[in-house]
Amino acid sequence: MQDHGFESSADAYRVKLDSFEGPLDLLLHLIRKSEVNIYDIPIALITEQYLAYIKLMEEMNLDLAGEFLVMASTLIHIKSRTLLPRPDPAQEDAGPEEDPREALVRRLLEHEKYKAAADMLHDRETLRGAQFGRSDSSVAKAAGEAYEPELEVDLFSLLAAFRGVLERASRRPQMVLPPDQMSIEDRIQQLLSRLSETEACGFEDLFADGDGSRGFMIVTFLALLEMIRLKLIRTSQTGSFGAIRIYKRARPAGAPHPIGDPQGA
């Protein structure tokens, strides 16, 4: 096995100080270096060594994460507990007292397990990295469409996607609508008052009163469609391509209500 940058072998003495990822790493290193039994850690010795390392790291101005200090206080606490006089062995009915080191040992072993698992993953990754798949171009012709990978759906990708949208939106120049753009509702009112004057008129006449702009035409046409839906007008045509006439009609009882109408749904 090659060097994976792990300090997992007992003879790795020359360890760069900043290579310790955390206090558990450092502690394991010290235990290995001292060749002591992990189930019977000489806590005074190890605590002393640990504190010496911390001091050294501070002197070297290494960025000392808070976790290292927390571990230091844990060690000192355990040490102080082991120094306390043991309870009278005659009073064992309270059950054997837990070794204050036990919780720490459990954490160390657990940590070590996952380091070994990471090591295994690294080997897997290396093997897998040595396997190459086919090129995309070799199926492009047969597939007939471009390959787009299926995305993992999770909250992170969802949020990342949303962030992408928001970022794009903020970069996009704001669409400026002409300030005099008339609303469809307003246009309906105009057309209705116009029709109430004449009762009927030609389709083209409805477009005649504006500025002839594209926006005006579209608003007028949409207003017309809406009026048909609301059964406010009738249209008739004399044969294919004949003239279209628009008639105002009495509103039937079952007709939909216009938007914004308080009687509306």
Binding site: F132, G133, R134, S135, D136, S137, S138, V139, K141, A142, A143, G144, E145, Y147, E148, P149, E150, L151, V153, D154, L155, F156, S157, L158, L159, A161, F162, R163, G164, V165, L166, E167, R168, A169, S170, R172, I184, E185, L222, E226, I259, G260, G264, A265
Partner: protein, 222 residues
């Protein structure tokens, strides 16, 4: 690999099995058809005639592969699927493309999740691109549903996420959706300012009778 069993079938049994293995791997993995010249360059220790012989042997070998063939294309060699099987390959790609969630679909889903209920036009506005095709994918996958019509001209459908969506993303309810700020803190995101995540619902119309085609009974979004 060292011992290629059916090498007696090949016209170039003299070429070392190792060379043939290397040549096969190179042709297979090359991003574009690989030329003899390129092969010789990569295999600089091998005499050119051996490289040519290895390619020839491989080509003969591939005559006997069931689904693949080794073709000469643009002066180089490439391993491709047999043309008579292309219909199957197309089916595979089609199957994948109708099912998969793409960047497009995910973006649309995200906009709906954070701004529901929302119309197709509003989604397109936020995304800056037309969205209509993706909506049907999301509807088919039961990630979104139609919850009503917006009370504006044209009465467009309003879309919202489904219960299935919540299950899929491991959420209890919509309040569980991470705020952009949450994620920023935890994971170093940088949210752009000025855009609110959730807007008050306005103008929601209930669906008329018989319109509730997509809305499963008893499903609720919030």
């Amino acid at each position: 690999m060292e011992d290629v069993q059916n090498s007696e079938a090949s016209p170039a049994g003299t070429v070392s099995a190792e060379l043939r293995a290397i040549v096969e791997a190179l042709i297979y993995a090359s991003p574009e058809p690989i030329t003899i010249k390129m092969l010789c360059k990569l295999l600089s220790d091998e005499p050119q005639e051996d490289v040519v012989a290895a390619v020839d042997a491989l080509k003969a070998d591939y005559e006997q592969r069931p689904g693949l063939q080794c073709v000469e294309v643009a002066g180089g060699f490439q391993i491709v699927t047999r043309p008579e099987l292309h219909e199957w390959v197309r089916r595979l790609f089609h199957e994948r493309s109708t099912q998969k969630l793409t960047v497009q679909a995910l973006e649309t889903l995200a906009v709906i999740a954070y701004k529901q209920p929302i119309t197709a036009l509003e989604i397109s506005d936020v995304r800056g691109v037309n969205t209509s095709g993706v909506l049907s994918t999301l509807l088919e996958r039961h990630l979104i549903k139609i919850v009503g019509r917006k009370n504006i001209v044209g009465r467009p459908f309003l879309y919202a996420t489904t219960k299935e969506f919540l299950i899929r993303f491991g959420l209890r309810d919509l309040g569980d959706l991470p705020k952009i700020g949450d994620m920023a803190e935890a994971l170093g995101f940088d949210p752009p300012g000025g855009l609110s995540e959730l807007e008050p619902r306005e103008g929601l119309l209930p669906l008329a009778e018989g319109e509730a085609q997509v809305d499963p009974p008893g499903s609720s979004t919030s």
